[in-house]
Amino acid sequence: MKRTITVRINGQPFTRDVEVRTLLSDFIRHDARLTGTHVGCEHGACGACTIQVDGVPMRSCLLLAVQAEGREIRTVEALAEERPDGTLHPLQQAFHEKHGLQCGFCTPGFLMSLEPLYDADEIPTSDEGVREAIAGSLCRCTGYEQIVEAVQLAASRRAAERD
């Protein structure tokens, strides 16, 4: 069964004729050619596919593309795309400085999950708080230490902005 759908991703509409069983993660990667969103486990556990639906982080592998019609989908590409003069989003900058990524496969999921917390100035600062906040994303490279440090760095910079 097929359906013609229009999915808005990072403000841009993508109209395609898709099989109804097409996962949103696959639509994003293959139909919209936005490969920043990664597919790790396809059953919701690893978090690499996390995107935002109307600003709320969700697993794109657990959504059907047809379910995304009428919603605003936001992927990791938006973070730098929306910034002037090629700078990185503060979260990306902090991950870069603290080596919060090695292969980078998990990173988009972390960033998409953390961005709303960053915007709301609600990133935890304690070690335990950060680890609980990022528990929804798995990383096989870093051992999480540098990711925690990156998040704490971003939080401190956000706090400095507030003052």
Binding site: V20, R21, P57, L62, A135
Partner: protein, 291 residues
């Protein structure tokens, strides 16, 4: 992996959805949050011929507080109950348990009643709603019926829902005054399926003894287990330092799902410890409520 082929329906109203269920019955699966169903489809553990996606049905996206009773519909996501000032005030055990459900990204999309209909033996919401004596409103083209939580869960992944029925809403009665709740679970990592847990709702009498208690165990078997013998042992008495003893009675006959005898013994022990902790938390909360 990707899902196998299915026909896709996205009805806009409850009657449309019920008509589809009536027509398709066993061949169709209802898709709400999808946080349990989609993994099964992606792994091809489930191959329904049709999906009935209920996410467009506005009538199911309701939550209301009516004379102290909470009523919420099938599209209420876990995160909504987690953050609701109503649950924080009237049923704090709900947000306490929801913190343990998977991860925020899952809770943003998954629905509480989807978890109930899925009836995973390791799920928190079936246990909590059983402890709260919740009632489920179930509808088909034949009409509406209400099923109390105690009668709803039949076996693992099996509920009282007929293939042509839709779980529409849940009603949670108000807690009596001087009531405290406790919820504890143990999982190897935060967000993992629980190895064992317990939900306790405890009401104190004016003299400080236990007027009423409801103890529901998580991971004790195929369904949420009400520990009625333990409840009877506590009623009329002060909890004091008897939590471990009451918990021992609670887990006496339970048979947690396990691969080996040793694992079962371990899980029984975990459930017992969580039960004791939940009793103590509930007692403290009830004492605070009394002041």
């Amino acid at each position: 992996m990707k899902p196998s082929r299915f026909a896709y329906h996205d009805p806009r109203t409850v009657p449309e959805a019920l008509a589809l269920l009536h027509e398709l019955g066993d061949d169709a699966k209802v898709l709400a949050g999808g946080q349990s169903l989609m993994p099964m489809l992606n792994l091809r553990l489930a191959r329904p011929e049709a999906l009935i996606d209920i996410n467009q049905i506005d009538a199911l996206d309701e939550i209301a507080l009516d004379e102290g009773t909470l009523r919420f519909g099938a599209l209420i996501r876990h995160v909504m109950l987690e953050r609701s000032p109503w649950t924080a005030q009237g049923w704090p055990i709900i947000p306490a348990a929801l913190r343990h459900v998977a991860h925020p990204q899952i809770r943003n999309r998954g629905t509480v009643l989807g978890s109930v209909a899925h009836a995973d033996p390791a799920a928190e919401m079936p246990v909590v709603l059983t402890a709260l004596d919740a009632r489920f409103e179930v509808r088909s083209v034949a009409g509406t019926r209400e099923i109390v939580a105690a009668d709803f869960f039949r076996s693992q992944m099996t509920t009282a829902l007929e293939p042509t029925e839709l779980l529409i809403a849940c009603t949670v009665p108000a807690l009596p005054p001087n009531t405290g709740c406790g919820f504890h679970e143990f999982a190897r990592r935060h967000g993992d399926f629980a190895l064992g847990g317990a939900a306790v709702v405890l009401t104190l009498a004016p003299d400080g003894t236990c007027a009423d208690v409801r103890i529901t165990l998580l991971g004790a078997g195929a369904v949420p287990v009400r520990a009625r013998e333990a409840e009877a042992a506590l009623r009329g008495h002060r909890l004091g330092d008897a939590a471990a003893e009451i918990a021992r009675i609670a887990v006496g006959g339970i048979e947690p799902i396990a691969a080996t005898v040793e694992e079962q013994r371990y899980r029984r022990r975990v459930v017992g410890v969580m039960c004791a902790r939940s009793l103590e938390s509930a007692q403290l909360a009830a004492e605070e409520a009394m002041q």
